[in-house]
Symmetry: C2
Subunit: 191 residues, 2 copies
Amino acid sequence: MPYSPKHKEQTRQRILQTAAKLFCSKGFDRVTLKQIMKQANMTHGAFYAHFSGKSTLYEAALQFATAKGFWARKDKHTETKDTHLKAMIARYLSWSRPNDNNPSPLEFLVTDAAHQDETVRQTYQECFDNLVNRLSSILTKRGFNAAQSLAEETMVSLVGTVSVARSIQETQRAAFVSRAKARILMRLEQG
Amino acid sequence: MPYSPKHKEQTRQRILQTAAKLFCSKGFDRVTLKQIMKQANMTHGAFYAHFSGKSTLYEAALQFATAKGFWARKDKHTETKDTHLKAMIARYLSWSRPNDNNPSPLEFLVTDAAHQDETVRQTYQECFDNLVNRLSSILTKRGFNAAQSLAEETMVSLVGTVSVARSIQETQRAAFVSRAKARILMRLEQG
DNA sequence: GTCTATATGATGATAGAC
DNA sequence: GTCTATCATCATATAGAC
């Protein structure tokens, strides 16, 4: 019995991880199954033992990226609450480079979700709300008044910043993100 | 002489306009030349009498959309400066529906530009800076201090709002945009 | 300049050996 | 379960008639 169920599950996870990376940096249409399978150390044909098609994989990869979303984990236990918040912002903004390898659920979604069907948009909705709520609860603990609104505003700014940063010239990117980051943090400080 | 140079130019403009619309609502990869030419009332083959390829058309359509950008024209001469500003915001946010027919230069870019080469990103850069500068000059006239920074912040929020709005569920869209709009206007009022 | 018809290439998906 | 080989489809692009 050369192939255990455990082995299959591991392979599936490897495909998902690779797919999430690639979908994130290139978008749905510019990623081929061949590419994904090659980077996952398999050949094209093996794909259909795990997923029924590209669309199915897309949704699965999307949930995979969301579940492992970076907001879930704190960086280090030694972080104070304040630096934790700043670290989250910084981490999100680190996705500004289009070829970044870390899958950013929201960015990889905002690129494609608008053109996908309602099912995909529902997943996006859940993901976005999730992030807003987590951020909101952090802000509430820190004594902000309109935490929910401020959290949503912050998330919108983050998505906008990363989206624009990815689309402009490479030479201007760092400065642009730096300015945006300063404004977002300032807003969070003054409430 | 059945085909005048003027006729060719008109045809070219028709292709550009159609392409801008389609690229805006569907993105680069999900639009085919066949579609574009069909909607422009021609057949596929006639395309290459006007453009050398799809990429060339993309850049041209991009500049076309930018040149006709809505920030350029005021809505009505009767608008006060204040309502003009609000009208601009509202008009931008009206692009929140993914299948909207009006080509929004920034949104149709933010969807694709990140995956295109540096030439396209340079065009995006110019377009974005252009909008920031126009907004900034309006804010300056109205006596704001950090007009440039506020303008950039506003543009980022607008792009983020439209991007997210297009990706979430249809039922949530209007309320989401409404909240975002209120926050953006509030920021602009309090400087 | 626009048409019809076709070449060329790539992609998603399937068939069958191991 | 994974491989190799192949199919079917669709997209860009070209060729040639009008």
